[in-house]
Symmetry: C2
Subunit: 93 residues, 2 copies
């Protein structure tokens, strides 16, 4: 992107990977999280971490599939007309 942002794709294998994810997002990069390599309990922890991370910084999260989230920094628009998918990110159990 002209303003120096990158798109950084993570394939976390444990909750510990939340740290580099947080650092990249805090630095202003777009982050893609592939959750498919995590055990369910660690995936849920990471999703909650990411929800807090993004909320605090005023960014946006979008669920691309069950296993992939896009984290957009503040000011980056995310468009998704997923009308055939039900539920919202914040309501998932």
């Amino acid at each position: 992107m002209a303003d120096g942002r990158s798109i950084v794709v993570f394939h976390p294998t444990s909750y510990r990977d939340s740290r580099p994810i947080g650092e990249r997002f805090r630095d202003g990069d777009v982050v893609l999280c592939d959750l498919s390599w995590l055990e369910p309990d660690e995936a849920h922890r990471l999703v909650d971490f990411v929800a807090g991370l993004v909320f605090g910084l005023g960014g946006n999260i979008d669920k691309v599939t069950t296993h992939v989230l896009v984290l957009a920094p503040p000011g980056v628009t995310v468009l998704d007309d997923a009308e055939h998918l039900t539920g919202s990110f914040y309501n998932q159990s």
Copy 2:
């Protein structure tokens, strides 16, 4: 993004959805493709279309998971250290 780009997420249900995907990418947006709603033969067609689209415009494709591709316009860096995933995008059968 400060330069006006958006991130646009598509959940194509047929090969016909290649057109809006192509238009957004051509316009300079980052495109995320969720292939999980496509029959295998249509998914393969869309993947080949996207390969041509991105190659022609000098952008980058990264496979986030089996079902999710990120299409980055020229000049947008994509970082992915997916060392535990094997194969490259262009070698998939």
